[in-house]
């Protein structure tokens, strides 16, 4: 069965420093992969998606993610964290009409 693993449940960074949120997927096929962000008491917002085109995907708010098939990874990065980035982030795999969610990573940004 497909599974998505977000390696860190919590990540804490200082404002202005880089962000790395890690995600590994399990599919042996080429899946579609997504990152969503959820701010407190808000719905999920699509950050970016990978659908077998360029392996480096740029999203909104300066985020990007790189698809690495050899590592089955799709890590989310941002060069410089902003206070408004504090939220929960979900990595999602889409395969055979189903979506598989990671358990989420809470990002804390310190001033």
């Amino acid at each position: 069965a497909q599974s998505v693993t977000q390696l860190d449940s919590h990540v804490s960074v200082s404002e202005g420093t880089p962000v790395l949120l890690r995600c590994n997927y399990s599919s042996s096929y080429s899946p579609s992969l997504f990152w969503y962000v959820q701010h407190p008491n808000k719905g999920l917002q699509l950050l970016l998606k990978y659908t077998s085109a360029a392996t480096l995907v740029k999203g909104i708010n300066g985020f990007e993610a790189e698809f690495k098939k050899s590592e089955t990874s799709f890590h989310l990065t941002k060069p410089s964290a902003h206070m408004s980035d504090a939220a929960e982030y979900f990595c999602v795999e889409y395969n055979f009409n189903k979506f598989y969610f990671g358990s989420g990573t809470k990002l804390n940004v310190k001033p």
Partner: protein, 111 residues
């Protein structure tokens, strides 16, 4: 255009009562998903509708949960004889191909 809408935004009910949650998907989206998100946890898949096909009910936690969808439009999620453990945010998402768009959710509190 309009996004996914859900109603009510908040619902407080007494244990043992039935509740109905509504989702209006984006017009033209053939797929509709329901998820449950308990406090501090990730998303739990409940049910998936795709066009006129039989729904995938594999995520429904018990027979107290049911959902309907009229064609490719509105969907209702019904929880009968609510229990305190049903307290959660219920999220609806719709999609045309592989990208899901989420509604703001219904926050259900069972007293």
């Amino acid at each position: 255009g309009a996004g996914v809408s859900q109603s009510p935004s908040n619902k407080v009910t007494e244990k043992g009562k039935d509740v109905e949650l509504r989702c209006d998907p984006i017009s033209g989206h053939t797929a509709l998903y329901w998820y449950r998100q308990r406090l501090g946890q990730g998303l739990e898949f409940l049910i998936y509708f795709q066009g006129n096909s039989a729904p995938d009910k594999s995520g429904l936690p018990s027979d107290r949960f049911s959902a309907e969808r009229t064609g490719e439009s509105v969907s209702t999620l019904t929880i009968q004889r609510t229990q305190q453990e049903d307290s959660a945010v219920y999220l609806c998402a719709s999609s045309l191909v592989e990208t899901q768009y989420f509604g703001p959710g219904t926050r259900l509190l069972v007293l």
